[in-house]
C-alpha cells in the first residue's frame, strides 16, 4: 500500500507514467490517470489510442513495462491477487462461457470468487433477477441477444460488489436498444459507491455516463476534464449551410454569423453558434430574406473527430467537412 501524495485518500486508480510496448509499437507512452473513488471516469480515444491496453493492465491481464499502476491502493504487478479481489471487468468481448446457461455462468464465477456453493447459487439468482435475466437463466448464453449477453457479462462483473469496475467499450457493437440497456445498468451502479472506469470511442457515451473524461491518443493523456470542459475546448455547436450557387457564398457567410468558414469547392459554410435551435431558425430566415437558395442546412454538435483534431492541434482552417452528427436538416 503505497499511495502517496495528493491523491492518497480518494484515488481508486492511480496511473503514473505507464509504459507498454509491443515490439516496436508503443501502446502506452507515459500515460497518467487518476480516478477518484465513487466516480465514473471516461477514457476517450480513437482505435489504437491505448484504451484497451490500460484497462488490461489495470485488470491484471497484462503487465506494463514501466511506471506506477495502482488499483484500490494495490500495485497491479506485485499485489495482483489483492487487486483481483476488488475489481470487476466488462471487456469488449463477452467474458462469459457462451456454451453454458446464464445461471451456470454466474454460479461458476461465484464459486471461483470463493463464495461457497450455496451462496454462489443465491448470488446468481439475485443478479439474474436484478438484470432482468431470470427467465432466460438456463438458455445457452450463445443464444442471447447482444444486449442480454452484455447484461449477463455485467452481472458477472458484479458478483462480489467490486470497489472498481472496468468497462472496456461496453456498448461497442450493440444496437441502440442494447446500448440503452447497458447505460441504464451502469447508472444504477453509480449510486452504490462503485468506482467505474469506462473506455469508449463515443463522445456521447462519455457525456452520458462520465463525471470526468481523460482523452487519450498515442498512448498518452492529451486532455482531462468534465464533459463540458472538453466540449468547451473544442467549441460548441455549428451550423453548416450548402448554397446552390457558389456566387452567393460570401453573402451567405456574412448572414450565417461571425467566424464562418467557407469551402468554395463544396459550396459550404460552417459557423459556430451559441444558441442552437434559434440560430438554425435565424439562419433559415436570413437566407430566405436575402433570396439565397440553400441545398442543405444542418445543425451539428462537435464530434469526437473534432475533439481529437482540436486536442492534437491538427485542425486546419476550413476543414469542417468531417463526419458530422446531423441533427436537424432543413
Amino acid at each position: 500500500m503505497s499511495l502517496t501524495g495528493a491523491h492518497a485518500d480518494d484515488a481508486a486508480i492511480v496511473v503514473e507514467g505507464a509504459q507498454k510496448r509491443y515490439g516496436q509499437k508503443r501502446a502506452l507512452d507515459g500515460l497518467d490517470l487518476v480516478v477518484r473513488r465513487g466516480t465514473v471516469h471516461g477514457v476517450l480515444g480513437p482505435n489504437g489510442a491505448g484504451k484497451t491496453t490500460i484497462v488490461r493492465i489495470l485488470a491484471t491481464l497484462l503487465r506494463h513495462d514501466a511506471g506506477r499502476v495502482e488499483v484500490a491502493g494495490y500495485d497491479v504487478r506485485s499485489r495482483a491477487g489483492e487487486v483481483r479481489r476488488r475489481i470487476g471487468l466488462l471487456g469488449q468481448h463477452a467474458a462469459v462461457d457462451e456454451e453454458l446457461g446464464g445461471r451456470q455462468n454466474l454460479e461458476m464465477f461465484g464459486r471461483l470468487y470463493h463464495l461457497g456453493a450455496r451462496r454462489a447459487g443465491e448470488r446468481a439468482d439475485e443478479l439474474l433477477e436484478r438484470f432482468g435475466l431470470a427467465d432466460t437463466g438456463s438458455k445457452a448464453v450463445g443464444k442471447y441477444s447482444g444486449g442480454m449477453r452484455r447484461r449477463l457479462d455485467l452481472a458477472a462483473s458484479l458478483i462480489t460488489d467490486p470497489q472498481v469496475l472496468f468497462l472496456d467499450e461496453p456498448t461497442t457493437g450493440l444496437d441502440p436498444r442494447g446500448r440503452a440497456e447497458v447505460w441504464g445498468a451502469v447508472r444504477s451502479l453509480v449510486g452504490g459507491g462503485t468506482t467505474v472506469l469506462l473506455t469508449t470511442q463515443y463522445l456521447e457515451e462519455a457525456d452520458q455516463l462520465a463525471d470526468r473524461i481523460t482523452v487519450v491518443d498515442g498512448g498518452r493523456a492529451v486532455a482531462e476534464g468534465t464533459p463540458d470542459d472538453l466540449k468547451r475546448m473544442v467549441g460548441g455547436d455549428r451550423v453548416d449551410v450548402v448554397v446552390r450557387d457558389a456566387r452567393h457564398l460570401d453573402a451567405a457567410a456574412a448572414l450565417v454569423g461571425p467566424g464562418a468558414e467557407t469551402d468554395p469547392d463544396r459550396r459550404r459554410i460552417s459557423a459556430p453558434v451559441a444558441d442552437r435551435m434559434s440560430a438554425l431558425a435565424r439562419t433559415v430566415r436570413a437566407l430566405e430574406a436575402a433570396g439565397i437558395e440553400a441545398e442543405d442546412i444542418a445543425l451539428r454538435r462537435p464530434t469526437l473527430d473534432e475533439v481529437f483534431l482540436h486536442l492534437t492541434k491538427e485542425t486546419e482552417p476550413g476543414d469542417f467537412a468531417g463526419r458530422a452528427d446531423r441533427e436537424v436538416v432543413a
Binding site: A59, T60, L61, L62, R63, G81, R84, R85, I87, L89, G91, Q92, H93, A94, A95, V96, D97, E98, E99, L100, Q104, M108, F109, R111, L112, Y113, H114, A140, A156
Partner: protein, 263 residues
C-alpha cells in the same frame, strides 16, 4: 502454499472440471462423435482393410491394442482444439482477472480430458471384445495396459495445451490434425514393422506410438512379433520413458506459457 491455498486450488480445479462436464451436457453430439470416431476406425481397419495384413496372430488381436494407443494420440488434437477455442474466447479474461487459482483452468482441462479419454478407452475395449478380441494376461496386466495408455494421453494433453498456446489460432489445429495421421501410420498401430522395408521398419519402431502399441500387446498377451530390434525388445521401457520425457518437457513449457499470457 498454505493449506488454505491448496484447498482453494483443489476447489477451483474442480469448478473448472465441472465447467467442462457441463459443456458435455450441452453438446452431447460432439462428445458422442468424439467417442464413436475411434470405434469407426477400428471397425473399418478390422473388417474392410485388415484382411491382407501380415501380422503375427489374428489381425483383431494386433489391431485393438494399436487402436487404443492411436486413440490416445488423437487426444492431442482434441486438447489443442479445446484450449485454442478457450483462449480465443473472452471468458478466459474473466478467469484471469478473478482471484481464483490461475492453474485451475489447466487442471480442469486436464481432468476433463483424462475422464473423456478413459471413457473412450473403455468403449473401445468393449467394442473390441464384441468383434472377437480377447486379452490373455491377468487383471493386473490389463489395468497396467490401461494405465500406460492414459500416461500417453497425459503426455498428449500437455503437448496439446502447449501447442494451442503457441499457435493460438484454430487454423493451426487443422495442421496438427493432419500431421497426426502420418505419425499414426508410421507406427506399428496398423501394420507390423517387419512387413515394411527395413529402413522404414527401423524408423517406425522408434515411434512412441509403436512402443506403446507393442507394450500394450505384450501386457494383453497378444502374439508377439519375431523381432530382435532394441526398441521392440524394450517396448515396455520405452512406453514409459517416452510419455514421461514428453511430460517433463511440455508440462513446464505449457505452464510457463500460460503464466505469460500477460506479456
Amino acid at each position: 502454499m498454505s493449506a488454505d491455498a491448496v484447498g482453494w486450488a483443489v476447489a477451483d480445479s474442480w469448478t473448472m472440471t465441472r465447467r467442462e462436464l457441463a459443456h458435455w451436457g450441452r453438446q452431447p453430439v460432439q462428445v458422442v462423435v468424439g467417442l464413436v470416431f475411434p470405434v469407426m476406425l477400428l471397425l473399418m481397419f478390422g473388417f474392410l482393410i485388415g484382411g491382407g495384413k501380415d501380422v503375427p496372430g489374428d489381425y483383431v488381436d494386433f489391431l485393438v491394442p494399436g487402436m487404443l494407443a492411436l486413440t490416445m494420440a488423437f487426444g492431442l488434437e482434441a486438447t489443442m482444439l479445446a484450449v485454442t477455442q478457450d483462449l480465443n474466447k473472452g471468458v478466459i479474461d474473466r478467469f484471469r482477472s478473478m482471484p481464483m487459482t490461475p492453474g485451475a483452468v489447466l487442471v480442469g482441462r486436464a481432468v476433463a480430458d483424462m475422464l473423456q479419454s478413459a471413457a473412450g478407452l473403455l468403449i473401445l475395449v468393449g467394442v473390441g471384445w464384441a468383434i472377437g478380441w480377447r486379452w490373455h494376461g491377468g487383471p493386473l496386466a490389463f489395468l497396467g495396459a490401461l494405465g500406460l495408455l492414459l500416461l500417453l494421453r497425459f503426455a498428449m494433453l500437455w503437448i496439446g495445451i502447449h501447442l494451442a498456446m503457441v499457435a493460438g489460432r484454430p487454423e493451426m489445429v487443422q495442421a496438427v490434425q493432419i500431421l497426426v495421421w502420418p505419425v499414426g501410420f508410421l507406427s506399428s498401430v496398423f501394420a507390423a514393422p517387419e512387413s515394411m522395408p527395413d529402413w522404414l521398419g527401423a524408423a517406425v519402431e522408434w515411434n512412441p506410438l509403436s512402443a506403446m502399441a507393442t507394450a500394450v500387446r505384450d501386457l494383453f498377451g497378444s502374439p508377439a512379433a519375431a523381432t530382435s530390434s532394441w526398441p521392440a525388445e524394450h517396448a515396455g521401457l520405452l512406453a514409459v520413458v517416452w510419455p514421461v520425457v514428453l511430460v517433463a518437457v511440455f508440462f513446464p513449457l505449457a505452464v510457463r506459457r500460460f503464466g505469460r499470457l500477460n506479456q
